[in-house]
């Protein structure tokens, strides 16, 4: 029998739009749902809203415990009362991305043409721009004409860039963190390893695992493990684990393991409990397809022509996935159109994941930038 949903279904706060959404691939969704969370208070003239965009495996639970995992919100260090994105001053919104599996329409949602079945691999290919179009509908729904800021890291940063390029008049300030204007060949290659691992899992059933009542856990875990290595730096792994062994003095038997191995396996196994394999395929593909300069004759700068938004670009020195050079290239493209751009590289040895971790310089920079923007926007 069809099993269209995982064992425990949590009700996510959401709103459903009945107007058709046309996607970049040419297909459309006749209706779609956006799951979201809000923090803080929208002011009377609706001018203090900040949209937070989440990364590949993130969700809308930015600043509160995640109902699926019970763990703290993924950006509680940044978003909260008195935080760099201060919910006492700003109204903060975060939505689960289109294609996701935390309540927004994605491969696990009911198929439009086949009642009782999920979309599965039949879910249309979505792009970062599609995610942003869906978010835009939601922001319109809230009655917010202009976002004070759009902030996000990694894939969230891609969405920030897409917002700034697609809706420049609706974005006062844009903060892409640890991001890039396109996904590099190396990043696509890493994603492909993950996708192949999922496809190779015998429980994948060509993406129809839901109809068999199983999930391709091994494949998804391997995908997560591979990706995880690209999120952390060599220095961080060495500091945390070095060559330490798990429960053994020497590595004499095959069953014994290095600590880093069991750490990775933990990362993999905890991930499969909360993430849908088809969503992973959909979203990694969306990232791969991202290229902000595509379709612009004169390259990236054209994407920002005439922008009046204020930008803060942040990179981390040990990030190999979205290296500083990528952020600098965006900063230079913004210079080409004489945009208002701040750009810092934060010294950190924590790799790409640094944007999620305790990085006081980053937090100070973000807080200061937003507060400077608030002054220019007349919020203070």
């Amino acid at each position: 029998m069809d099993q269209s949903s995982p064992p425990q279904e949590i009700q996510h706060q959401s709103v459903t739009f009945e107007e058709r959404l046309t996607l970049d691939c040419g297909r459309h969704l006749n209706r779609f749902t956006i799951a979201y969370r809000c923090y803080g208070t929208l002011n009377a003239d609706r001018s203090n809203a900040i949209l937070i965009c989440h990364a590949l495996t993130g969700d809308q639970y930015v600043a509160e415990p995640n109902p699926e995992t019970g763990k703290p919100g993924w950006w509680e260090r940044v978003v909260g009362p008195g935080g760099p994105v201060d919910t006492n001053a700003y109204f903060v919104v975060c939505t689960n991305v289109l294609g996701g599996c935390m309540g927004t329409t994605g491969p696990r949602s009911p198929h439009e043409d086949h009642p009782g079945q999920p979309w599965g691999t039949d879910f249309p290919a979505v792009t970062i721009n599609d995610m942003v179009r869906a978010q835009k509908r939601f922001i319109d729904h809230l009655g917010i004409e202009k976002l004070f800021a759009v902030v996000g890291g990694s894939m969230g940063g891609m969405q920030v860039l897409a917002w700034a390029a697609m809706y420049p008049e609706q974005v006062f300030a844009a903060v892409p963190v640890a991001a890039a204007a396109y996904h590099s060949a190396q990043n696509i290659a890493f994603h492909e390893i993950g996708r192949q691992a999922i496809a190779a899992d015998p429980f994948f059933y060509g993406g129809r695992y839901w109809s068999e009542g199983v999930t391709p856990e091994r494949g998804l875990a391997v995908a997560r493990m591979t990706a995880h290595i690209t999120y952390v730096s060599e220095a961080a792994l060495t500091r945390k684990f070095g060559r330490k062994l798990q429960d053994a003095a020497t590595l004499s038997e095959l069953g014994e393991r290095f600590e880093v191995e069991s750490y990775l396996q933990y990362q993999g196994s905890s991930f499969v409990r909360r993430f849908d394999a088809n969503s992973y395929l959909t979203i990694t593909r969306a990232m791969d397809l991202f290229d902000l300069a595509a379709g612009h004759e004169n390259g990236l700068a054209d994407a920002f022509k005439g922008t009046r938004s204020r930008f803060l670009l942040v990179s981390f020195s040990s990030d190999c996935l979205f290296p500083t050079a990528q952020s600098r290239a965006i900063a230079r493209a913004l210079n080409h159109v004489a945009a208002n751009v701040s750009f810092v590289e934060i010294k950190s040895d924590k790799g790409h994941d640094a944007f999620l971790l305790d990085e006081p310089d980053f937090h100070r920079t973000l807080r200061g930038f937003l507060s400077g923007c608030a002054e220019h926007a007349g919020l203070k």
């Binding site: 204020r310 803060l312 670009l313 600098r328 900063a331 230079r332 210079n335 080409h336 159109v337 004489a338 208002n340 751009v341 701040s342 750009f343 810092v344 590289e345 934060i346 010294k347 310089d361 100070r364 920079t365 807080r367 200061g368 930038f369 507060s371 400077g372 923007c373 002054e375």
Partner: protein, 205 residues
Amino acid sequence: MTTQKKMRLDLALIAGMIAPRSRVLDIGCSDGTLIDHLFRTLQCDARGLELDMDAVTQAVGFGLPVMQGDADTDLATYPDGAFDYVVLSRTLQAVEQPREVLRQMLRIGTHAIVSFPNFGHWSLRLQLLLNGRMPMTKTWSRMWYETPNIHPCTIQDFFQLCKADGYKVEQWLAADDEGARAPWRRFPALANLFGEQGLFLLRKA
């Protein structure tokens, strides 16, 4: 946002050359004191470019629009006429290609404001004459083999470069180290002897 700090006198002299509500790029803006001042007192759209990442982080943390970058390479990324004023204070002598930087400044800006320590000051001349060694002063305080000031010039040299490259000197003055205005502005030769730094407002002729 940053509280109003006491500004270096030479920055105050520079601010005095800038029209209210103009677009300004401050190259080598350090912690952004000048751009903060220009925004607060003259309502300028002032931005900064700074090489030192710690200074950039500090400036952005104050809410100032500053990007990390290098005068030698990053000016080429701005469009023609993006700014009304492009400021380079006490940095010309430290860039790799001063002539090219100046050319870029007057491409992306209508005006260039340049200040630099004057290597023609009498005390430097005297030291070289008497000791036969590279002069050392408060401004020129590092040994020749480790100084970042790789392109020292005199006020007369600078006049010469402006003439050669077709820049009109709209205003100029010599100042002492603190930035207090020196009284020799009518006489370049005297300014070159007694001014510790030169400050120029240029535009294309």
